[in-house]
Amino acid sequence: MAHVEPQTRHRRRALLSQTFALLCLAATALCVLILIVLLLEVLWQGLPRLNPRFLMGSMSRFPEKAGILPSLVSSLWLIGLTTLFSVPIGVGSALYLEEYAGPSRWRHLVQLNIANLAGVPSIVYGILGLGLFVRTFALQRSILAGALTLSLVVLPIVILAAQEALRAVPDSIRRASYALGATRWQTVWYQVLPAATPGIMTGVILAISRALGEAAPLVALGAATFITFVPVSPLDEFSALPVVIFDWSSRPQTDFHQVAAAGIVVLLTVLILLNATAVYVRYHYGKRIRW
């Protein structure tokens, strides 16, 4: 090996270190840049098409007349029912795992199972919904079948978030409650759950956001890309905001792409409102807790 002056070696190592730091910085900047480009691109294409007629209009085969009201209402039905199903069951499961089940093989199995369910592709839930809710339970392609399927998709998210929130409640609260003679359920209901609520709410909002953006399970269920009416009952046929965006994006005409972009602006706006609520809840209720 050729002899290298110690000073040159030192300079080389310093240069390598700086280059690497720059490379890491560049990667991080790229992540931020991607989000900016994504948002600008969608706004650029979508904003010109966004008007009251688009928001209140029904679906149409002509891009200039197409509106999103039926799909927007469908999506609100879906996330409403999904929340109704998944939150009690999800929080219940978390309470069972954190507050009731002792460390056992069974608890470990349930926990492992939930972690695995969180990783199952959402379209597989769609196939489950098709086989179970649409065919076996004969719910047809109804809002109810869609909401039940979406509930299964988001259930692991709710459970895992609620568990984390419950774990953050200090044990001193539980011990103090027991010391005053409260039963286990009284301790959970009056002390632990209220203390864990901000954390649980954050997880719930995350789950609702996921349910709102999911198209794959609904497409597998056979959600309509075109409905002529605004659904008024859980047994009505349905569409969904991401499903019609998918349909519009898949068409060759660029006019439809602009309509899709306008739909995306609406979808992202609802998502941002939901997340702003999550931040508000975390901040507003978080500061009342005094431990």
Partner: protein
């Protein structure tokens, strides 16, 4: 605040209404028992979900494999269920692997470097800007990325490579790569930060540069967790649906050329679901067979990833 409740409120307890207990506590015991049973039922539902997935997929797939031999399904190189009655799944598998490999090439280096930057270099102010940005990126629905692949990325690829098709694997790979990026960054950053400070300080004391410390000490110490984050991201890429259904095209095509169209397993399921396929027909059952293949492969990768995560826990907990 009245004097009676003040002591309890100081420790953070809330008032509990009197439940009439004291006469042997029978009512209490009944309530406690019912509640526990109810919560147990909730937890049981997640087990039922898994059993349900396996049963629904297995029953219909079993019917499918009675008509199409499993061997032909796994080794056939032509997928044309409707036109030619050919049920070789390999073109769909190769489409899925092409998109996943492309996404990995985009996301793994950028994701790991970003995680290293956030964990080792960034000031807390920078972290407070970048982390929410990544959270927002992670929350963008898949269909939005599909739209971008078709409207933005694909035309951009076609200006550089005029031979590329309107639908191509490359555009799908790029957007899926962006979709799995936040996952890699946040999971890898967590493990990098969990590497004890003492390891870094020991390396500096031996005269190492920041590069040496990061690349030769911190990253190797966290490697199990980093591998786990890569695996979880790859499993997510395999199951990714709407973006690839829009961008990659609908032609089951065994090709290594990323500029050509292909079809993934998920893309095929979407295509069949959109048509009016009568329940019970062989074509209807293909989605259960393909779904089963998808479920088994992602499950396998996820379990492998959990094994790696358990290794990290053993090391530093």
């Amino acid at each position: 605040m009245n004097a009676e409740s003040s002591a309890a409120e100081v420790v953070g307890l809330r008032a509990v209404p009197w439940d009439g207990a004291g006469h042997g506590g029978v009512r209490r015991k009944v309530v406690e028992g019912l509640v526990q049973a109810g919560l147990f039922g909730c937890a049981l539902l997640s087990i039922f979900t898994t059993v349900g997935i396996v049963l629904v997929l297995a029953v219909e797939a079993f019917e499918f494999f009675r008509e199409v031999p499993l061997f032909d399904f796994l080794t056939g190189t032509e997928w044309a269920p409707k036109l030619a009655g050919k049920f070789g799944v390999l073109p769909l598998v190769s489409g899925t692997l092409m998109v996943t490999a492309g996404a990995a090439m985009v996301a793994l280096p950028i994701g790991l470097l970003t995680a290293i930057y956030l964990s080792e270099y960034a000031s807390s102010e920078v972290r407070e800007v970048v982390k929410p940005v990544l959270e927002v990126l992670a929350g963008v629905p898949s269909v939005v990325f599909g739209y971008l692949a078709v409207v933005t990325v694909s035309p951009w690829i076609r200006t550089f490579f005029p031979s590329a098709g309107v639908f191509n694997v490359a555009s799908a790979s790029i957007v899926v790569g962006v979709m799995i990026l936040p996952m890699i960054v946040s999971l890898s950053e967590d493990v990098l930060r969990s590497v004890p400070r003492s390891l870094r300080e020991a390396a500096y004391a031996l005269g190492a540069t920041k590069f040496d410390v990061t690349v030769k000490v911190v990253v190797p110490a966290a490697i199990s967790g980093i591998v786990a984050s890569f695996l979880l991201a790859l499993s997510r890429a395999i199951g990714e649906t709407m973006a690839v259904a829009l961008a990659a095209g609908n032609s089951p095509n065994m090709t290594l050329n990323p500029l050509e169209a292909a079809q993934t397993m998920t893309g095929y399921i979407v295509q069949v679901s959109q048509g009016d396929t009568p329940a019970g027909s062989l074509e209807y059952r293909t989605i259960f067979a393909v779904g089963l293949a998808l479920f088994v492969s992602t499950m396998f990768i996820n379990i492998l990833a959990q094994w790696f995560v358990a290794r990290v826990r053993m090391k530093y907990d």
